[in-house]
Subunit: 95 residues, 2 copies
């Protein structure tokens, strides 16, 4: 079993209506001092061992993210007995 | 300046229509082997130094997440001149 965390965010310069709305609403609630607020997607994907990281990248490009207006990054977190080792060797891929 | 990453996910047992739809669509595209797929929100928040972590938690409870059906977790990542040091000392909090 493999676990992936996928972060989908709007590209630089693309308007984010949900984030803008939340920012104004927080301002109205009295929370000042907010400089920016962007809302993206956080996808938790669990697959069996047959699914490669390359396949997950393709899934993002084809369906989970819109590459025209969104960027994505993928963190792989293996589960089962080898999880801790896998997390260490994968540390370079962290955000 | 402070930066926070907020992850909003559906509570255990709450139906996730977006995730379910994406899972079926991936299946139709030929990507088999997916065991689960959940779609939540990934919020990137930048505030000035006057905003406390407690205030950010309140923002999540009041507006950014729906505590009835969603859980959230907050990662703080300090920026400004001390960003690199802060990122290193904060490495344990990385997802």
């Amino acid at each position: 079993m493999k676990q992936y965390k996928i972060f989908v965010t709007g590209k630089q310069g693309i308007f984010d209506p949900a984030g803008e709305t939340a920012r104004h609403a927080l301002d109205n609630l009295g929370y000042t001092g907010i400089e920016s607020l962007q809302i993206g997607k956080y996808i938790q994907l669990t697959t069996d061992d047959s699914v490669s990281a390359e396949a997950v990248k393709q899934m993002c490009e084809k369906l989970l993210a819109n590459p025209v207006i969104e960027d994505f990054s993928i963190d792989e977190t293996a589960t089962s007995a080898t999880s801790e080792i896998a997390e260490k060797t994968n540390a370079g891929a962290d955000e």
